[in-house]
Point group: C2
Chain length 376, copies 2
DNA sequence: CTGTTAGCGCTTTCAA
DNA sequence: TTGAAAGCGCTAACAG
């Protein structure tokens, strides 16, 4: 008698069949619920169901997968689960997957310099599709590599626009615009930018910021821009640099809340009070953003909707293939991999501005406004 | 010709065999690297290896798993990946798993009221073992249920001492003691406690706090204790209650950094400056703890070591079974499931105190110390 | 409506 | 040192 590695007594489909006095086929048919072509008498159906439950039968997913050529498992690629925004996407994604009978395996990598190879072990040939979370994962070549292996790949929070992966994102342009207009309405004109330094790509939000500012006739000197790694430490360092620089912004616009957390910390340590001396705006609206000191005004990404949309897109794509052998639902062109980035399907969701306490009117800043005296 | 659900052209072992002009058996033997019983000529070995590489062969894990009765996959149960402390464990866990050739599937559940059933879909009969992260997951019955299905289960950050699951934890008693002694050394005598309200269990750290305080002859009135859900919001609410209460603590001890984040926010909104008016100590040392305003003094859990130890324990347990059919390495008694909680193996790691800016000597607090005038 | 049969891709006795 | 063959547990033609 066999003993499964991780379990105890394995009850197989055959056991159920014997006990219920029907064939394996019947049991299989009842349990998979595929009654389309053939019908099953209500009596046997009940008997099978009852027996399976009584025996505590759990289908062996590996056997099923081997047979059906699908695992019911999705690979989720994430650069760093420790990033609150990435983490925030998981529950909603998991919910969609669970509702549709899928599981997921999480492929995690701490390094920012990911070659596709680093994901190999996880993508060991048996996931039905891949969901890629965030920008800081998969460079161009790695991306191409991934697409070579898997038909069904969808990205979320994947801002880069030269990606070949169909993806669902927040509308960065609109988000940055919301932030800028909020600041402008409060009288701010000198706005500094704290952004992410990505490995393969510039920070898209920075581009948007620059062009939106230019469009409004506001110039942004290079010294008013500080880039750093995506972390509170990165934000802290960037803010420190900005405070030392020869610019006197009245507001900081951060490309991510995580950066803003570091910025806030650096500012308060230096004695620059927020928002009295300086206004700070974030981007993402991670859970902690509501509990910084002061609570952060930020551009909210519709996290749950983002996650749901992406997961649904991916699953639809996977299941679509079943019906018509090899549809290319996610690509507008027929030839696989032949399209240029513009041909790749993109979904854009709309962000909103949530105003908390880290921003205020620039006029509130009185005579003690020339805070550069207090800076080193 | 078959077309895999998620992939493109599947290269099978048979393909490699044909191409290399050897039998499947040989290919399998070379690739699995099990050369113990039989030797393989260096020439064929090289040929096989080369062909496999050239063809881009990737073993089908489902087929292999079906045959070997092990999936090489671990189930990781987590109450809420959104919790920074839980998230912080993942990378180290993932590293150990990857290094030993395992993957993991993450089972996520948002609800605090978890029956074991909620994990069923994930644990669909094929994981080699289960790693349980945190306290807020799996009640007693669910735990028993899990142990009924899996031999190999290990918990991390699972403080409850009535658990039947072998687990590796930080030494809470020592941690709380560190915090108390730090506060005491700074002259604090009135210490309030902000804790987690768990579903199945009291907050163990509260118990420790109470007994440690009593041991030092310090009484803690019930009004100086506030419990809430494990979130910044929970901490915020708890602090608000504490500020309104008829007690005048000079320090808050928080059972978790996440709570402390909310506490800090509530305090600063109410104008109670930290640490001038009130000192605050956290527990966990989540990444953000270094970037709160002010940076948080906290009890650091050795996250990486915790994760590594637990993952290693689990994997050793799984692989131990292979050698001697059914060892009960993790239990001190022979009869499966028969032991009482005391029999279950527990590993305790030592926490350290990291002093940042949220605590200060109580004597620094001058005449404006009677902050209760400013409280509603 | 139900059963028989074949086989997914791999590992593993057993025999050569 | 290598190969032939059986079979893990399940599903999907194809018969009946």
């Amino acid at each position: 008698m066999h003993r499964r590695a991780g379990g105890k007594i394995p009850v197989t489909l055959k056991d159920v069949a014997r006990e219920a006095e029907v064939s394996n086929t019947t049991v299989s048919r009842v349990l998979t619920g595929k009654v389309s072509p053939v019908m099953i008498s209500e009596s046997t159906r009940q008997r099978v169901l009852e027996t399976a439950a009584r025996l505590g039968y759990r289908p062996n997913l590996m056997a099923r997968g081997l047979r059906t050529q699908r695992s019911g498992t999705i690979g989720v690629l994430v650069a760093d689960i420790t990033d609150p925004f990435s983490a925030a996407l998981i529950p909603a994604i998991a919910a969609v997957f669970a509702a549709r009978g899928y599981q997921f395996v999480l492929s995690h990598a701490m390094s920012d310099s990911l070659s596709g190879r680093e994901f190999e072990p996880l993508l060991g040939s048996w996931v039905d599709g891949v969901l890629v979370l965030g920008d800081r994962v998969l460079g161009r070549e790695a991306e191409a590599d991934l697409l070579k292996h898997y038909h069904h790949v969808v990205g979320v929070a994947r801002t880069r626009d030269n990606t070949m992966i169909p993806s669902v994102n927040v509308d960065d342009t609109h988000g940055i615009r919301l932030a800028i207009e909020h600041l402008l309405a409060l009288g701010h004109r000198q706005i500094a930018f704290v952004g992410n330094r990505l490995s393969w790509d510039m920070d898209r939000r920075l581009d948007v910021f620059l062009s939106e500012m230019a469009e409004r006739g506001l110039s942004v000197p290079p010294e008013a821009i500080a880039l750093g790694p995506h972390s509170a430490a990165g934000g802290y360092a960037a803010a420190t640099r900005l405070m030392d620089a020869n610019v006197k912004p009245t507001a900081f616009l951060c490309a991510a809340d995580l950066l803003a957390v570091g910025v806030l910390c650096a500012l308060q340590e230096a004695g620059w009070r927020v928002p009295q001396v300086l206004s700070v705006v974030g981007f993402d609206d991670i859970p902690q953003a509501a509990y910084t000191s002061p609570p952060l005004t930020t551009v909210r990404q519709p996290v749950a909707e983002l996650a749901r949309t992406a997961a649904t897109l991916l699953l639809d794509s996977i299941e679509g293939e079943t019906e018509q052998e090899s549809s290319n639902e996610l690509r507008s062109d027929a030839a696989p991999l032949a399209g240029s980035p513009q041909d790749v399907r993109k979904v854009l969701l709309t962000p909103t501005l949530v105003v908390r306490r880290s921003t205020t009117s620039v006029h509130l800043c009185g005579s003690d406004c020339d805070h550069n005296v207090s800076s080193g």
